[in-house]
Symmetry: C2
Subunit: 221 residues, 2 copies
DNA sequence: ACCTGAACACCGTTCAAGT
DNA sequence: ACCTGAACACCGTTCAAGT
């Protein structure tokens, strides 16, 4: 209620800033879900009018994009590289995945962002570098990088959003008529068991195939 | 304005139905983008009050889910199977991809649907069947099926939604400082060139790896 | 049985006005 | 320089009332 006593002039030296708003976004999304992140809700959280946000961000899209980029920094700063390409790609990809699964709705908005966010470039630079050092032709290296990026971002967003492939789905598939759906009913008990296991299975499929590509390329030279 | 002259009693024998509403959804989304699909817009399109939709669908989610399922029917009914597992999976996957890329926002809503839609089960049954017939242990077959499904749905939605990886991105990556971003700047001209090529590259990586899995399993037996 | 229309409780965003 | 507050043009959804 009362201003901090060190500051004589006004009641709040700098109530709002981009970082304060981004923090509030993450806090609200964590507590009440991403659809609760509303200009009015954001204002209430910070004891400020909803429209004050527009002093710091052009619109809501810019705010959400900045929030998503912050998630990426936090994730990426906590990864360390060993020099083993396969281990390094795995840990980079899995760290990004964790951030996206935890905040899928926020992550989703990066996809529709008109330009890449600063930390996105850092992560891409690191991953692309690891793959290029394998010695593949640049065209294959770029495609491999792009596909790993797309797989990670897209599937993790989906996993985070979703009821897709939960217990409810398994039950519904189990209840289908076995004569017209023999394969789904036969395997219903093991379907959609663990999104993380599925993700890593697919990741390893692609890494296996990339490794073979590298070997074949080395043999030709 | 005037009723069809064959019908004496009222001015419209059956103005609304689930199918009529689904058709209108697709029509509006195609013409004006998926964010234009609004209850009020839908009512205007059909010369009916916005709230009349609630006579046929519980809420907007149910309407959109039904619309997404219709896209899947149209796509799946146009695929034919040859018996060559790799060709058949490729064509099933690419057909689904085309439907999702064309209507990403609608497709996105299926992901948050609480239960699988009827046609989704048909497509899954067919794809899972093809993979199971390869003779892998069921656990691997199920994971391979799930990963192909997730990759197709998620990446195609993302590609359809977006500016992600367009010309603008390539330009921004090219403009980065080369000393801190040597790999991105070196390959900027070939980055994010063609989403379809990237998708097929990743698909073939996974199919290659699955083929190897099958070979190794056959050798052990 | 099916549709209407007013109403409710929300959105993001603008712009003149305050301090 | 930064924030306020009224206002605008929208949403999805409910429910009593019409036919």
């Amino acid at each position: 209620m009362t201003p901090p006593r060190s500051s004589p002039q006004a009641r709040s030296p700098a109530r709002l800033s981009r970082d304060v708003l981004i923090d509030a976004c993450i806090r609200i999304a964590d507590r009440e879900g991403p659809e609760a992140v509303t200009m009015r809700r954001l204002g209430a959280e910070l004891g400020v009018d909803a429209t004050a946000v527009y002093r710091h961000f052009r619109d809501k899209d810019e705010l959400v994009a900045a929030t998503a980029d912050r998630l990426l920094t936090d994730a990426f700063d906590s990864t360390t590289f060993t020099g083993d390409w396969r281990r390094d790609i795995r840990s980079a990809v899995l760290t990004v995945r964790r951030a996206y699964v935890a905040h899928p709705r926020i992550a989703l908005m990066v996809l529709s962002a008109t330009s890449p966010m600063p930390n996105e470039a850092r992560v891409s630079e690191a991953t692309l570098g690891i793959i290029r050092r394998l010695g593949l032709p640049d065209r294959d290296a770029v495609l491999a990088f792009e596909v790993l990026e797309a797989y990670t971002v897209a599937v993790s967003c989906m996993d985070g959003m979703g009821s897709s492939g939960s217990d409810a789905w398994r039950l519904e598939y189990a209840a289908l008529p076995p004569t017209t759906f023999p394969n789904l009913t036969a395997t219903a008990t093991m379907l959609y068991a663990d999104p993380d296991e599925r993700f890593e299975f697919g990741l390893d499929l692609m890494l296996d195939a990339i490794e073979r590509l590298v070997d074949r390329h080395a043999d030709e030279a």
